[in-house]
């Protein structure tokens, strides 16, 4: 167990700048998830920590010591790969014991550690099997066992669940979460799936184009996204965005007009913006209410999805626009083809400026 500190970390491949000035503090025993769209550099960042890629610039510290030039085996990190990468010719036991044997651990200690790890991961029955005789979930557990057997200070996961089917993924996600509670070890986890990020993380790091977009707890990211990108990335179905225009602002908040919604008085501080500025209004699907159409402010319902416990209603502001989503508990009285009015819950809406930064609430300092 150890903390990890990234200071102005940079990685350049040839002419491509993959990781740009990443600063990050990972606390002892914390579960940190790197999330972002493909190509955002999240896997590269993990590989920099693992030592599989060299650091172009900046400092990486583990437990306070700079480890930039240490090979992976001396960093005390274990890694679980996306494809598991189990050694096909070795049994489960040999797979888990390989690293310990290479470290010239005494034979009894090797056995003790492998058995202890196998017990935690419920692999005791499978120790004599080869990887090809295991199911996907079992392989996944062996891959975790191999990384854990050497008792690394930090466990790294590179999209470990993306090769599993949906139900197994939920189950393994649960097991990883329980494992973290039980071991209390520092874990860094990479995923492109925001649900995994939300459910597992103590701290989520949203990456975009090699930069840290926002760091925070799942709750912070959901409730106070710092940018439009984070707002759109976290949460499913995604947040609705609507173009808006600033009418006026004062110390209490601001007044805007958004197409189809009319004039709204919002609690956000728009003091830095000039009247008439282009803003973006963001409303999560569950923070919209539908009402009978009145006048011009009507949206057409183009699709209704029934999911059992809840209903998604898709609305079209006007032909060709991005659809808006409304989420409510089932049953729903709305039908395709109806025209309805939209009423956002004003205390829950988000407002973004022209540079896609979130505007803070009036009376607070503006969020970065």
């Amino acid at each position: 167990m150890a903390s990890v500190t990234l200071e102005k970390l940079n990685k350049v491949f040839g002419h491509t700048h993959i990781i740009k000035d990443v600063d990050l503090e990972i606390g002892n025993g914390e579960f940190v998830v790197f999330v972002g769209p493909s190509g955002c550099g999240k896997s590269t960042l993990l590989r920099l920590i693992a030592g599989l890629e060299s650091i172009t610039d900046g400092e990486l510290k583990i437990a306070g010591d700079v480890v930039n030039d240490l090979p992976p085996r001396e960093r005390g990190v274990g890694m679980v790969f996306q494809s598991y990468a189990l050694y096909p010719h070795m049994t489960v036991y040999e797979n888990m014991a390989f690293g310990l044997k290479l470290a010239k651990t005494a034979k009894e200690t090797v056995e003790q550690r492998v058995m202890a790890t196998a017990r935690i991961l419920q692999l005791e029955e499978l120790l004599e099997r080869k990887p090809k005789a295991l199911s996907g979930g079992q392989r996944q557990r062996v891959a975790m066992g191999r990384a854990m057997a050497r008792e690394p200070r930090i466990l790294l996961f590179d999209e470990p669940l993306s090769n599993l089917d949906a139900s197994l993924r939920v189950q393994m996600r649960n097991e990883i979460a329980r494992l973290h509670h039980r071991l209390g070890s520092t874990m860094v986890y990479v995923t492109h799936d925001q649900v995994e990020a939300m459910t597992l993380a103590d701290k989520i790091v949203v990456l975009r184009d090699g930069r840290v977009e926002q760091v925070g707890s799942p709750q912070t990211l959901y409730q106070q996204p710092a940018t439009r990108f984070v707002a759109g990335f976290i949460g499913s179905p995604t947040m609705n965005f609507m173009p808006a225009e600033l009418l006026s602002s004062d110390s209490e908040g601001c007044r805007i007009t958004a197409q189809g919604l009319g004039e709204l008085a919002l609690p956000q501080n728009a003091g830095g913006e000039s009247t008439g500025a282009d803003l973006t209004l963001g409303v999560r699907p569950e923070h919209l209410r539908l009402a009978e159409a009145q006048g011009d402010n009507a949206f057409e319902i183009v699709n209704v999805e029934y999911l059992g416990n809840e209903v998604y209603v898709y609305l079209e502001p006007k032909a060709g626009d991005t659809l808006l989503i409304h989420r409510s508990e089932a049953p729903s009285r709305w039908e395709i083809g109806q025209r309805v009015a939209l009423v956002p819950e004003l205390e829950h809406v988000h407002l973004f400026d022209a540079a896609d930064r979130a505007l803070g609430l009036a009376g607070q300092r503006q969020a970065a």
């Binding site: 599989l52 085996r73 990190v77 790969f81 494809s83 990468a85 050694y87 010719h89 390989f98 290479l102």
Partner: protein, 280 residues
Amino acid sequence: MNPYQLMKLAKRVGLYALIAVVLVYAVFPFYYAVITSLKPSSELFRVDFWLSSVDLGNYVQIFTQKSFVRAIFNSIVISLSVVAIALLLGITASYALGRVRFRGRTTVMLTILGVSMFPQVAVLSGLFEVIRTLNLYNNPGGLILSYTIFTLPFTVWVLTTFMRQLPMELEEAAIMDGATPWVTITRVFLPLMWPAMATTGLLAFIAAWNEFLFALTFTLTDDQRTVPVAIALISGGSQHELPWGPIMAASVTVTVPLVVLVMIFQRRIVSGLTAGAVKG
């Protein structure tokens, strides 16, 4: 029988007829050699397609010749050495060429391929000088050296292709487990590369086993000869008589080990040779 069934039957008959033709074409020379080797010399020039009686006189004759037995021994030592050296160098080279990123990797690969394009005769005199300088003339070492030169390009190419197909994450997992490149090669990659190694090893063995030109040029005395040369130098009672019986017996004797080896490894050869095409 309706026309459709007739067509199907005709097609099937045609297919088997074609297979028979190919089989006869490929196997007949070898078959005739076996037959000839089992005939006494008096019946040698009577054309028979079937064997009426078995006469092992030719085999007795070649195996009582000390130089022939010695030649078989030489061939085994040389061929096995070539296979061992070629595989060792091939595996390590393929790791470098398949896994390590360095400037000029493609150039090295193309150079290796280029070397194998020269006909043997072209390098014969140069190689002769090399062997003389290294003091390997009339010595198994000279043949091992020259065969390895011609075997390595193929070995390196096939093994490199195979090595590239092993997942990158496997090597990274080994690195995370604290493996050095040598440990990764010997304990992670080697066990996975047996099909490719069986293929290349066998082909290297066959090439070394059957090679004639270098073996003739770089050896002088009977006790250093390899089998192909020994067979060519089997002489009859007079200079006007070619002793076909013993020659055939010797040829069959040295071909049998190859056939057995191919039979043993045939599955691996197929999986090794197609490894480049689909998936490892």
